[in-house]
C-alpha cells in the first residue's frame, strides 16, 4: 500500500482530502457529511470524494450544524467514523450541545468504554474579510470541555498526517484546519501510512534563548520572526504544538527547562485563550526554571472586523512576534 518516500506538492486542503480519501479506501465505516461536500466541498477538501466513494458515503446536507454533529455522535456510538465539515468553526457554537455534551460526554456518562470515532472539521481563523462570525479561532473550547481531542495542522503534510491520525483515533477529534492555509501549498508524503501522532508537537526551529510555543496560522509567522531575531543574536526555539488536546508536555518542558523563557503565540483571542492555559501550566510545572514571566502574543479581544487591514491589525503580526522576542530577552 505504502508509496514509500514519494512527496508531492499540493494544497493544504487537498492534503487533508488525500488523508481522508486514503482512510476511506481501507475503512468502509467512514462517511463524510457537510454542506456541499458531495460537490467537492466549499474549500476543496472533499474534491473527488463523491466520485470515488459514491453519494451514500459523501453526503450533502442542509444548513443545520446541530443535526450534522448530532448525527455524527449517533453514528459513532454504533461504530461508524463520521467526518463532518462545518466549513467554519464559528458555526460549531450552533452545535454546542452535540459537540461538547454528546460527542464529549456520551461514553463517560453512560459508563460504557466503547470507541467513539468522529472527526469534526472546524476551520479556524481569518481568511481575508470573512467577518466577525466567520473568522474566529475558538479551539480553546475543545481544551476546556473534557472528552475530546484537538488538532491544529500548520502545513499541508500535517493536514494529511493529522487527518489520518484523527480517523484512526477511538475518540472524537476536533480537527481545526486553518482557513488562511487552505490554499497554500506544501510537500506532502504520499505514503499511505504517513501519520502525525495526536499529542505530539514538533520543534520547527531549534534555539537556545527562548521557547516560542505556537500552532496553526502562527507557525509560519513565528518562523519568520525567528529569522529576524536570529540576525540580532536571539535564538528562539519554535515549537509547533500540532495538538492542543493532549498537549505535548514532555516536549514543552524539555525546551523551557533548557531555554528558561517561554512565549505563546496564537491567533485566538488573548483572554482565556489557549495561551492562558499553557502559560499557567508552565509556571505550575516549571516555575523555578523560568528567568522571566511567560509572554503571550495573541489576537485582540474584539470581534474580528471584516475590513482587511483592520482584520490583520487584530491578529499577531511578524513584527509583534519579533518585538515580543526582543522584549523577553530584555526582562
Amino acid at each position: 500500500m505504502a508509496n514509500n518516500d514519494k512527496m508531492e506538492t499540493m494544497l493544504y486542503n487537498a492534503a487533508m482530502g488525500l488523508g481522508l480519501a486514503e482512510e476511506m479506501r481501507t475503512n468502509p465505516d467512514i462517511f463524510v457529511l457537510g454542506q456541499g461536500v458531495a460537490s467537492g466541498g466549499w474549500f476543496g477538501a472533499e474534491k473527488g470524494l463523491a466520485d470515488e466513494f459514491g453519494s451514500d458515503r459523501v453526503v450533502d446536507c442542509g444548513i443545520c450544524e446541530a443535526f450534522e454533529v448530532g448525527m455524527a455522535a449517533g453514528a459513532s456510538v454504533v461504530g461508524m467514523t463520521p467526518v463532518i465539515n462545518l466549513g467554519f468553526a464559528d458555526f460549531s457554537l450552533i452545535a454546542g450541545d452535540e459537540i461538547y455534551h454528546k460527542l464529549g460526554k456520551w461514553r463517560y456518562m453512560h459508563g460504557l468504554n466503547v470507541p467513539m470515532s468522529a472527526v469534526i472539521i472546524l476551520p479556524v481563523g481569518v481568511m481575508g474579510g470573512a467577518g466577525p462570525e466567520h473568522s474566529n479561532s475558538i479551539e480553546v473550547l475543545g481544551m476546556h470541555f473534557p472528552g475530546l481531542k484537538v488538532v491544529v495542522p500548520s502545513n499541508a503534510a500535517d493536514a494529511k498526517g493529522l487527518m489520518k491520525a484523527a480517523l484512526r483515533e477511538p475518540n472524537p477529534v476536533l480537527y481545526h484546519s486553518i482557513q488562511t492555509l487552505s490554499f497554500t501549498r506544501g510537500e506532502v508524503p504520499l505514503d499511505s501510512d504517513y501519520i502525525v501522532e495526536i499529542g505530539k508537537g514538533i520543534v520547527r526551529r531549534p534555539g537556545r534563548d527562548a521557547t516560542l510555543l505556537t500552532y496553526g496560522s502562527m507557525v509560519n509567522r513565528s518562523l519568520e520572526a525567528a529569522t529576524t531575531l536570529a540576525n540580532e543574536g536571539i535564538e528562539v526555539e519554535i515549537i509547533d504544538l500540532r495538538s492542543l488536546v493532549p498537549l505535548d508536555w514532555e516536549l514543552i518542558l524539555e525546551s523551557v527547562n533548557r531555554t528558561h523563557r517561554a512565549l505563546v503565540v496564537h491567533e485566538a483571542n488573548k483572554t482565556a485563550g489557549p495561551g492562558a492555559e499553557i502559560a499557567a501550566q508552565i509556571q505550575e510545572r516549571a516555575f523555578y526554571e523560568l528567568e522571566t514571566p511567560i509572554l503571550r502574543v495573541a489576537g485582540k479581544d474584539v470581534p474580528l472586523p471584516q475590513q482587511n487591514d483592520l482584520e490583520q491589525a487584530c491578529i499577531p503580526s511578524v513584527d509583534e512576534i519579533v518585538a515580543a522576542g526582543r522584549h523577553i530577552m530584555s526582562l
Binding site: 516555575f287 523555578y288 514571566p293 522584549h327 530577552m329
Partner: protein, 456 residues
C-alpha cells in the same frame, strides 16, 4: 501611615530562641505566599520560614547568624505591587525622617493611582511584559533563586549580568562553579565514594567493636577531635534525588515514617536480675539498647547517616544522641564513638550526661555532631509507641516506648505454641524516607531484636 510592615518570626509552640541562618530573599525582591523567606534554627530544629502573603522585602533587619526571640522583627515588608516611590516614602516614615503624614498620604495616593492606571492599561492594550510585577522589577528570577538555594549561595552576593540588573540562573551557576564547595565532613577519614558505590569502609577500631571482643581501654581509644566523626560519603544517584524530590512534594514536610517491632525483654530482664542477685547495679535497659544499637549501626551504616541537599554521608563511627527530658524541654547530648562502649560504660555515660543536662552544665560540643538519636519516652510512662521527629539532618531515630506485659505466642519444643505473658517493648525506628527505604530499617530492627533477645 507607612505601608511598611514588620516581618516577624512566627511563634512555634514552646520554642523561645532562634537563630537566623540564611536569607533567601534579597532586599527589593518580590515574593509570593509560600516562598521561603529565610531559614531559622531553633533549639529543636532547622526550618524554612515561608511568606504568609505576597509582598516585597524592603529591608533585612536580621543578620545571618544572629539570635532572636520568637516574634522578633527580622525585616520590613511592603505589600505586593507597591511602587518604589511608595516604598521609599514608607521607609522614610518608619525611620522618622519622612515627609509629614499629610504629604506622605498624598504621595502614596498618587503612586496608588499610578498603579491603578497601569493595571487598567494592562487589561486593554500594552506591549507584552509591560504589565509585569506591578511596576517593581524583580532583581532575581525563579530559576536563580532556586539555584542559589540548591548551591547554598547568598543570592545577594551574586553579581548580576541579566537585563535590568537581574541575577540570572547563569550568574548563580557561575558563582557555584568558581566556589568549589568544601566537603561538609572534611578530615582524613572521610571517604568520598563515587556514585553507585555505597561501600562503607570499616576502620580497624570499628571492626574490633563490631566483633564485640576484647575492647581497648578508654585511654587507648582513638578520640574524635572533630565535631563530625569520620564517615563514608555516597553521592546521591539520580534515582535517589528523584525519590527525594517526590517525597518532599508528596508531603510538603520531611517524610517521616516509623517502623515498629515488638522485642521480648525476658532475656534482658533475666540478665539484669543476675546482676542484682550478685549485688551489682545492672546497666540500664536504655544502655543495653544504646550499646547494641551502636554496635549494629556499624553494619547498618545507612541508618547512621546524615542527609543533605546533594549527598548523604554514611558515618563510620556512631555519635549517639540521647534525648533527655529536662525542665526546660528536650536536650540531646551526644556520646561520641558510642560503638566502642560496653553496656556498663554506656549506662554510666548516659547517667552523667542526663545529670549534666538537668544541671544545664552541658557544653555546646557535647550536643553537636550526632549521627543517630535514641529517644526514650518510655522512661516517663508507659507510652505504647515512640515516634519522634528526626534530629537535624540525621536519617533515623530509635524510639523506646514503655515496657508492657503482654500475652505472646511462644514456640514450644514440640513445635506447638503456648500463650505466655512476656515483657514487651515496641521499639520504633523513625526514618527519613527520602534517605532510606523500609528494607534497611527492618533489617536493622531484626538484628537488634535478635541481639536483645539473645542476651545471656
Amino acid at each position: 501611615m507607612s505601608i511598611i510592615r514588620d516581618l516577624t518570626i512566627p511563634m512555634m509552640g514552646s520554642v523561645e530562641n532562634a537563630r537566623l541562618l540564611q536569607w533567601y530573599v534579597a532586599e527589593g525582591d518580590a515574593f509570593v505566599a509560600g516562598d521561603v523567606l529565610y531559614e531559622l534554627e531553633t533549639d529543636k530544629t532547622v526550618t524554612e520560614i515561608t511568606a504568609e502573603e505576597d509582598g516585597i522585602l524592603v529591608r533585612r533587619l536580621g543578620e545571618e547568624g544572629a539570635d532572636f526571640k520568637m516574634g522578633d522583627c527580622v525585616g520590613w515588608q511592603a505589600p505586593a505591587g507597591s511602587l518604589p516611590e511608595a516604598i521609599q516614602q514608607g521607609v522614610a516614615l518608619r525611620e522618622g525622617n519622612g515627609p509629614q503624614p499629610a504629604a506622605a498620604a498624598v504621595a502614596l495616593a498618587t503612586s496608588v493611582t499610578a498603579l491603578e492606571s497601569s493595571t487598567t492599561a494592562a487589561t486593554t492594550e500594552v506591549e507584552p511584559g509591560e504589565m509585569l510585577m506591578g511596576g517593581v522589577m524583580a532583581k532575581t528570577s525563579p530559576r536563580s533563586r532556586k539555584l542559589a538555594r540548591e548551591y547554598g549561595i547568598d543570592i545577594t552576593t551574586v553579581t548580576a549580568t541579566g537585563p535590568r540588573g537581574r541575577v540570572t540562573g547563569e550568574d548563580v551557576l557561575r558563582v557555584a562553579a568558581k566556589r568549589k564547595r568544601l566537603p561538609v565532613a572534611a578530615g582524613p577519614e572521610a571517604n568520598v565514594v563515587p556514585q553507585k558505590a555505597p561501600v562503607p569502609t570499616v576502620e580497624p577500631g570499628a571492626e574490633v567493636a563490631a566483633a564485640g571482643t576484647s575492647l581497648p581501654s578508654p585511654a587507648q581509644r582513638p578520640v574524635a577531635l572533630t565535631n563530625k566523626p569520620a564517615g563514608t560519603r555516597v553521592r546521591h544517584s539520580l534515582r535517589r534525588k528523584t525519590i527525594a524530590s517526590n517525597m518532599v512534594c508528596a508531603k510538603r514536610e520531611m517524610p517521616h515514617l516509623t517502623a515498629d517491632m515488638d522485642i521480648d525483654l525476658s532475656a534482658l530482664m533475666a540478665l539484669r536480675k543476675r546482676f542484682k542477685a550478685s549485688g551489682q547495679q545492672p546497666p540500664s535497659i536504655l544502655a543495653y539498647f544504646a550499646c547494641n544499637a551502636s554496635r549494629l549501626l556499624q553494619e547498618h551504616k545507612s541508618l547512621n547517616a546524615t542527609f543533605g541537599e546533594d549527598e548523604m554521608v554514611l558515618w563510620n563511627s556512631v555519635n549517639l544522641n540521647i534525648a533527655v527530658d529536662t525542665d526546660e524541654g528536650l536536650v540531646v547530648p551526644v556520646i561520641r564513638d558510642a560503638q566502642l562502649l560496653t553496656a556498663a560504660e554506656m549506662s554510666t555515660r548516659i547517667a552523667g550526661l542526663a545529670e549534666a543536662a538537668r544541671q544545664r552544665a552541658l557544653q555546646p560540643e557535647e550536643m553537636a555532631g550526632g549521627t543517630f538519636t535514641i529517644s526514650n519516652p518510655g522512661a516517663l510512662g508507659p507510652v505504647v509507641r515512640a515516634e519522634a521527629v528526626l534530629n537535624g539532618d540525621q536519617v533515623a531515630l530509635m524510639g523506646m516506648p514503655g515496657i508492657v506485659q503482654k500475652p505472646v505466642a511462644v514456640a514450644l519444643p514440640d513445635g506447638s505454641y503456648a500463650v505466655q505473658v512476656r515483657p514487651i517493648l515496641r521499639l520504633g525506628i523513625t526514618f527519613d524516607h527520602r534517605a532510606l527505604d523500609g528494607g534497611p530499617v527492618i533489617r536493622f530492627l531484626n538484628a537488634l531484636k535478635f541481639a536483645i533477645e539473645s542476651l545471656a
